[in-house]
Amino acid sequence: MLAYVFRRLVQSALILLGVSFITFLLLYVLPADPVRQIAGRSATPETVENIRRQLGLDQPFIVQYGRYLAGLFHGDMGRSYLQKTEVAALIMARLPATLLLMLGAIVAELAIGLSLGVLAAVRRGGALDQSLMIASFVAVSAPQFVVGLLLLYVFAVKLGWFPIGGYGHLSNLVLPAMTLGIMGSGWYSRMMRSSMIDVLRSDYIRTARAKGLGRARVLALHAMPNAILPIIAMIGIDIGIFMSGIVVVESVFGWPGIGQLAWQAIQRVDIPIIMGVTLVSACAIVLGNLLADLVTPFIDPRIKLR
């Protein structure tokens, strides 16, 4: 187990290195000059050159990348071009909010998706199954901005159950987490349904019923853990999918996470921030996958980590 984690961490580090290289390269060839953004509209050409030199942006690609890496090893992610602040500080200030939001979204999408998937599997072929199928497609196809605003409008403005945006309380988390989780719940309910149908056909479910167990118990204790197995790996993948949704959801709900930071940075080619956010999100994805793999053996004792 420990050996496995160790090896996976080494692999992850390599993956992160790869991500940093590709990102850096892409940003390097991107046809947009960050210096002009920094220098602003009334800058003279020499000011522009000056800034370019100071930031080392006149250096060849390899040198720039090498410097960046060297910085990274010292825990220095550089300074934002436009915000003039340590990228690490900016990210650290916003990361907890994003992590919280993701966690909330995962909980929401699992709670909704899994329970609906089970329901559909149990009522397979019936009217409920059909309507859940349509519902899951609505969930997958709905643009998050609109979903967010609708939820906000109905539950915060009209009904007043939740605050309009904001951060700090659990009540603030509900709507954004729902918005982010809705799309995933569509996916999960579909996946869970088919996985559950397979499991319900299996011999051990029949055994459990032969023992005289109640229906709810058979579903919750015997079917669920088995049906969920193929889905756990998805949760790791999910974190990556969240990254794009987070930009939208955070801005609708005024959620102070890294999504908005990333968005502004992309708009203005603030390379250190883009790099930082990319690396942090890559970290999250890699760790999420690792976590998913580490959790599996607890649910499925057959799986040995090697």
């Binding site: 960050p34 210096v35 002009r36 920094i38 009334s42 003039k84 602040t85 909010a97 102070p256």
Partner: protein
């Protein structure tokens, strides 16, 4: 010359202002977006200032000043007893330090170029000097600034945020993080900043303008979608939506009598225009450029943005000194435009590209322009890109034939006609990486502009403005731009906000002049 305090003003209270984007930095040498511009104005002071709600200059930290007859030497007498937020008294040394700091390349100030007329600037820019030779401290309360050439806009430059006076010890203490820990002499001081969430400015009790500010504190909440901000305003949670009324809600608000009362409308020193790249075919032909000018249906565009602008006739906005009132501009006449194109050798029009920034409503405006051009046979392909990419394309030779300036449009740094010329219409900007995206360079006009700016004597202001007016009229002859509209500002405020409407459409402090507004409850 000065401002009469509002007799109804009540001290106390806190207001909430929202923004979508994060506040980048509050370092006055660096902050250069319209969001932190007004915040910096309230935290710092420069030698010069504007009368609230107007574009009229008034002395700031300088109590008075003298200009030498040749217009090249300015002597400022500082107010005594002005204290920084850290309690230390502000002196002439601080003024010099601040000007040195903003012009040192290491500071990376985007505003360094504004100080080009101060003697010794060039040595600063190329790194050979560490101090502006033109700035001398005569005594703790007097500072003398010598210019290398007469500059009529110099007092405006001294009112720019870039000229704010900063305390050396605090700058050195925080280093690059001064922008997150600003210390100035202004009406408000920063007391809390939670990155990505909110900033709290609290009243500077020691402020040198007696009785100001009225408010105890101002809270800025960032990361707020404009639509959501408006919803919160309607619920009374927000006092001013910093990003204004979102277009999607505009009609709704204006059709609601109660809400309409909360809206304040004002002009703005802004022009939205299309650049025509004079180095690229067929825009090298002045007839073609004129034809394009006549092809654009500005009224339709204004209608499309819910009438939140006025059709423009020339580069300068109407509220700018030097604006030529009698000039009617090119009339909308597609038939004539088509004929002119035919005459210029393009009877079937031509293919071209229109660059535009990708945030609403700019792509929509671009599509309206596209349709107008199509009517005279010009097929323009729209390239809607992120701001950075448009700026990049504009500053690269022979790349962007047409650019719609919206979103990056020129909002004046200070209310002077020269501000619309140099970087965006003069030869200086028509370089790689510059902002003169039409690449229009007319040496004669450059000379005329320089001549106008060397008229420093306030008495000859009329003569100077006439020269400027002439410059812009000649530009319209050459038609490197299609001025499309001058945006109006529609600000909304909560019902409890008090103070003259002018404060809410302050041409300098956008969205509002925090120092002078107050709450009525």
């Amino acid at each position: 010359q000065d401002y009469t305090p509002d007799p109804n003003a009540k001290p106390g209270g806190n207001i909430v202002i929202t923004y979508k984007d994060d506040v980048a930095t509050l370092d006055p040498a660096i902050g250069y977006d319209w969001q932190n511009w007004s915040m910096i104005k309230s935290i710092f002071d420069g030698l010069m200032d504007y009368v609230p709600g107007t574009t009229e200059l008034r002395p700031g930290l300088a109590e008075s000043y003298e200009i030498s007859p040749d217009g090249k030497t300015y002597t400022f007498h500082l107010r005594k007893g002005v204290k920084f937020h850290n309690g230390r008294e502000m002196t002439a040394e601080d003024v010099k330090y601040s000007l040195d700091r903003v012009t040192t390349p290491a500071t990376q100030s985007p505003g360094a170029g504004f100080f080009g007329s101060i003697a010794g600037y060039d040595a600063m820019a190329d790194g050979s000097a560490t101090s502006l030779s033109g700035v001398t401290v005569l005594d703790p309360a007097t500072v003398k600034i010598e210019l290398s050439r007469p500059d009529a806009t110099f007092l405006h430059v001294m009112a720019l945020n870039f000229s704010s006076v900063v305390p050396k010890e605090e700058v050195e203490k925080w280093g690059a993080d001064f922008g997150k820990h600003p210390v100035g002499t202004g009406a408000f001081k920063l007391s809390d900043w939670t990155i990505g969430q909110k900033l709290l400015l609290t009243k500077n009790a020691d402020y040198w303008r007696a009785g100001l500010p009225y408010l105890d504190s101002v809270t800025f909440e960032v990361g707020q979608e404009p639509i959501v901000a408006l919803l919160r305003l309607q619920k009374g949670e927000v006092d001013i939506p910093g990003d204004g009324i979102p277009p999607a809600k505009f009609t709704e608000v204006m059709n609601n009598p109660d809400e309409k009362k909360q809206v304040v409308v004002g002009g703005q020193l802004q022009t939205g225009y299309i650049t025509l790249n004079v180095e690229m075919k067929p825009f090298d032909n002045v007839e073609v450029r004129r034809a394009i000018n006549m092809a654009i249906n500005k009224d339709r565009i204004v209608q499309m943005i819910n009438g939140r602008a006025t059709p423009a006739t020339q580069p300068l906005p109407p509220s700018m000194p030097g604006y030529t009132k009698e000039y009617a501009g090119y009339a909308f006449d597609p038939a004539k435009a088509k004929a002119m194109l035919a005459e210029a050798g393009y009877p079937d029009g031509f293919q071209t590209q229109l660059y535009v920034m990708n945030t609403d409503p700019n792509p929509r405006i671009a599509q309206a322009i596209q349709q107008d051009l199509a009517a005279i046979g010009v097929k323009a392909e729209i390239k809607a890109l992120a701001q950075a990419n448009v700026i990049e394309a504009g500053g690269t030779p022979k790349t962007a034939p047409m650019i719609w300036s919206g979103g990056m449009a020129w909002i004046a740094d200070f209310p002077d006609p020269s501000n619309f010329y140099g970087p965006i219409l003069g030869c200086a900007g028509a370089v790689e990486g510059g902002w003169n995206w039409s690449w229009y360079c007319n040496k004669d006009l450059d000379a005329e502009a320089a001549k106008a700016d060397s008229i420093v004597d306030p008495a000859k202001q009329g003569e100077r403005l006439a020269l400027w007016s002439d410059v812009y009229m000649k530009i319209m002859q050459d038609a490197p731009w299609v001025p499309v509209f001058n945006e109006n500002r529609y600000t909304m405020k909560s019902a409890r906000m008090g103070g003259s409407d002018d404060l809410y459409v302050d041409p300098v402090s956008i969205p509002v002049n925090y120092d002078y507004v107050y709450v009525t409850e």
